[in-house]
Amino acid sequence: MFQTLRNIARSIYWDGAVEQKNLAKAVKVIWVSSASLIVSVPALLTLPYLDVSPLFNIGFGVLITMSTAMMLRSLQLLARNRAGEQQTRLTLQQEVAALNQHAIVSLTDQTGHICFVNQKFIEATGYAAEEIIGKHPSYLYADETKQDFAKIITTLKNGGNWEGETVLRRRDGRIIITQTTVLAHLNAAKELIGTVAVRTDITQVRLASAERDTVASLHNLSDPIAMIDPDTLNFIYMNEAALSLTGWTQETFMFKSVSNLPFDTDPRDVRKELRTLFSGKEHAAHFSLRLKGRDFSVDIQKIVPEFGGPRLFVIMRDVTDALELERVKHDFIANVSHELRTPLTAIKGALGLVLSGAAGEPSPKARSLLDIAHRNADRLVLIVNDILDLEKIAAGKMDFSMVVGDLRETITESVQSVQAYADQFGVTIEVEQPDEPVMARFDGGRILQVLTNLISNACKFSMPGSSIKVQVTTDGAQHLVAVRDQGMGIPATAIETIFDRFSQAGGKDRRAKGGTGLGLSIVKAIVEKHGGQVSLESTEGVGTTVTFNLRGASYRFQEMLDAAKTA
């Protein structure tokens, strides 16, 4: 390789030096020979008229003969040398042509700037020669590989040649990976006065290699993967896991289509999902199916490769175990619900009956202690309920019965339900809402839960004698519900995490007010399930306002939804 490159460099730097050197040598001989003849011939012609010995005549004769012979020999050598050089030049030109055909060549001058690029370079990089000549070679390197260029220069300055891979950026921004050899051109003082870089574009080789690796990885992936022709629904590709699942082989799957899959699910459902991809509106589909007694989550992506028609790329994930785990978790939550509430029913019931005098009037001290036990039993019930609610929301198991209705009715109901609680704290509740219906699509029970939670919170943290305002404003499209108290407020440091689970603004006083620390998390989760958002503003010593929004809706919207369901 280096020999070839040296030859190429020789050809590229061809300045006729060799030829000129040989020519000069030959001319020198011819000049000496000619001079000898010029001196000898007149001398020979005048000799007969001079009185010289015959020995001189013989000497001149020999001199003329030798000069003539030398001149002829020089001319012969010159001709032969010229033919050799022409042969060498031809060979080098052929090598250069061959190299230009396959390699990307560029040269730099002693200033380190590009001074020559071949046609292949222009084709590979997309730059015109005039755009790149005069530029520093680092200009070509992709940002991530500019440090490679510095290493190359260091090697070359030390007199070495450099060979390796370089990543260049084309004019259009695309990357090309090249196998590169860079030769240093040093002067007599061993200073770098130029370089020759010869590159081979290996981008496609690399891509092909990456593609082979990808296919190999896909083939061995534990999830079943397949490729389907959307026109025929025939399988084009199946990895090992897919073959194992279907029981087909590399030889047989090519003759199978989607309808040959051993579905437990109704194949019509699968075809329905696939049709959404054929309609052209969607490029991806996700659905579940059962195959050979296992549950699969299926993702299908329509892809259009550079060559060939569109393909459906199918990834199946066996979710049987995950679903079973989910079912176990759900059952666990349901069982915890039952197992915790049953003893709580007994505790609360017994305490309630004793406090009501069903077992005789307790003494004042006993009543005080029973009150504590009853209050904490209530608190425990709330905690259990809140935890279960949050788990249900997180698992998507909480039912939301969305119906279009007048939000004002739910607000009135919530105020009524917490009125007795507000009375305990000596707090009044004011409601300010539009005279016109405030229509929204919501789960009345859940929004009631949100409102009673917010209003009872406001009661707990309000000063006796103060008031709480529940305010509804609307622009028709969005309704804003704000619950504003004149309580102690929340420290700024606690506001950020106030909606987190078990988050309560600190302080003994607050903990003494009871609550589970889960209420606002549930409020947030329920409001978000309605597509709304909840926010809180508070100033210590002034009060707190919690606001949430719900989208407006109409009965007509509900009718449309009902019609769509029955269609």
Partner: protein, 123 residues
């Protein structure tokens, strides 16, 4: 005075429910802690209302109700479930299977009698 047939496997709740209902003065309470015992004796009790737990050994509340409904005198009387599982879809399923109402556990013993009376009288 209404006669109520209460089936509940938790003996503490059995006692509290009995106290709460009898304390009101409006109910005569007949209780069983085993569903099969209830089925065997229900016809002789001739209750005005059924109050059934949901999760019991041997038979669920729904299965017990189905068996009790086979007794002609009990085929149409109000049936109330007491359960900790009160998600809307769970309540809806119980109502669809012939329950008149669902009371959530833990229940308030001081309002239990009034609630059941209201359910009976609303029919």
């Amino acid at each position: 005075m209404y006669k109520i047939l209460h089936v509940e496997d938790d003996l503490d709740i059995v006692e509290i429910a009995k106290l709460a209902l009898e304390f009101s003065g409006d109910f005569e309470v007949v209780q069983f802690s085993l569903p099969h015992e209830a089925i065997r004796h229900a016809a002789g009790v001739n209750p005005d209302v059924l109050l059934l737990d949901m999760m019991m050994p041997g038979l669920s509340g729904e299965q017990l109700l189905a068996k009790l409904r086979e007794i002609p005198s009990l085929s149409k009387i109000p049936a109330i479930f007491m359960t900790a599982r009160t998600q809307p879809h769970e309540v809806a399923a119980l109502l669809a299977n012939g329950a008149s109402a669902v009371i959530e556990k833990p229940f308030d013993p001081m309002t239990l009698a009034d609630r059941i009376k209201a359910i009976i009288e609303s029919r």
